[in-house]
Amino acid sequence: MIEVRDIHKSFGDTHILKGLSTVFENGKTNLIIGQSGSGKTVFLKCLLGLFTPEEGDICYDNKSYSKLTTDEKRDLRQEMGMVFQGSALFDSMTVAGNVQFPLEMFTKQAKSEMADRVDTVLKRVNLIDAHHKFPSEISGGMQKRVAIARAIVMNPKYLFCDEPNSGLDPKTAILIDDLIKEITEEYDITTVINTHDMNSVMQIGEKILFLKNGLKEWEGSKHEIFKTDNEAVTDFVYSSELFKKVRQMYIEERN
């Protein structure tokens, strides 16, 4: 579980996060949505420990990040997995090399043990055939799956994803969403996803946090988002004609 308590983050005179509080539970897919510039990426980077909030605190399973020593912070980082928007795979390494990298860096496992673990996670993301390929030789969807495999290879407690569906076709995007949800439940991890993709919201949004101007505007589940009267949320979620029709149908069905 991740508990965020009243965090503030500024860059120079620009106040990005203005007192954000929320809770992300384990075994659930938590989605952060909001317009560009609403502070989603800064918030995610604060959760990852890449940015330090000026005020407030973030607690990971009741451990306050601000009170951790440097070594404890480093240990905590090893309990986090991250899937970057552009996958951020190391292009000088093969698929297997990328997945094996955290094991080589942080464990004392024998080569055979590491290879077994790599095979297990690559099977889990259906990529066992891509073992020896380089990131440049595989598709965007496959790269995302490699990034997921790399993120879960160390059995993390927390999984963070930044726009995992960006640049993917709708079918592949659904595959990635389903995979993240299955992994979240299977490993009982706290998953936080930063997204613009409304399909993801409807598909896997167990908890949705809507940010506006660095503040929490609304939070709830994918079922509640249909019912909300919050104008900022409805404006954002139903900006496309398709979703407007879906909502209309839902309301008509309900009545």
Binding site: G49, L50, Q78, M82, G86, A88, E104, M105
Partner: protein
């Protein structure tokens, strides 16, 4: 003010490089890879340039020493001094600031743009140690390349001098051994080691802290070349004054 901030950030980066070292098992592979890419991979261009510059230095000296009372062996002497004291350590280092430096800036800068550095940090890896330290260690082998440059430069001078009909082989060899001061070799290698450190770290700084996209990677490479060259030239002056002055 901005320059001071940059210089401060550079020294903070140097401190960070040596913190929280990467496992030796991984570091060993990285160092070997960097030796291959930065030093071994540069030998071709170093040999090519050294040979022709050595030859040109000899020809220029020969053409300018046309007074009959000046002994011909001074051509060999001038070639040796030019190549050992300045051409091999300084001129080649400036060329390496372009070749190796821009490679370092663009490779690290691309990793920054594609979030690979963020990925390392999120995993808890000291990205500066992982990326820059192997380059510093690899560049410790750079003096070997400069030794080759010295040899090839003088050899080029000998070939051009003798086969161009400017002096005899015996004159050239006499000039080479004339008033030889072994400390000049030490001076050249001290300079080379410091330049190697500069070539490894300044381009890394510009790549690591760059912001933006592909266009900025290109700009960062250019800026890093300019600053590496400026620092090499200033350091060359200071070291010459300190060690030979």
């Amino acid at each position: 003010m901005n320059y001071l901030t940059q210089i401060g950030s550079y020294f903070i980066m140097l401190r960070e490089i040596f913190k929280k070292p990467t496992k030796w098992r991984i570091m060993k592979t990285l160092v070997l890879k960097e030796i291959d890419e930065l030093v071994y991979g540069s030998l071709g261009i170093i040999i090519f340039i050294s040979f022709f510059i050595g030859a040109v230095v000899t020809i220029q000296t020969a053409l300018n020493l046309n007074n009959p009372i000046i002994p011909k062996n001074l051509i060999g002497f001038a070639t040796r001094q030019s190549v050992i004291l300045e051409f091999a350590p300084t001129f080649v280092s400036i060329i390496m600031a372009g070749k190796v430096g821009s490679y370092i800036t663009s490779s690290i800068g691309t990793m920054r743009v594609t979030e690979q550095i963020d990925a390392l940090e999120v995993m808890g890896v000291n990205s500066l140690n992982y990326l820059v330290f192997p380059k510093i260690i690899a560049m410790l082998f750079y003096p070997f390349a400069i030794a080759i440059s010295m040899y090839v430069g003088i050899f080029g001078g000998w070939l051009a001098g003798v086969f161009g009909g400017f002096l005899t082989s015996a004159d050239f060899v006499t000039g080479l051994t004339l008033e030889f001061i072994p400390f000049h070799i030490v001076y050249a290698f001290i300079k080379t080691l410091l330049f190697a450190f500069i070539i490894a770290t300044i381009p890394s700084f510009h790549g690591y802290y760059m912001k933006g996209g592909a266009l900025e990677v290109g700009k960062a490479s250019t800026t890093s070349f300019v600053w590496t060259s400026v620092v090499i030239i200033i350091l060359n002056y200071i070291l010459t004054q300190l060690l030979l002055g």
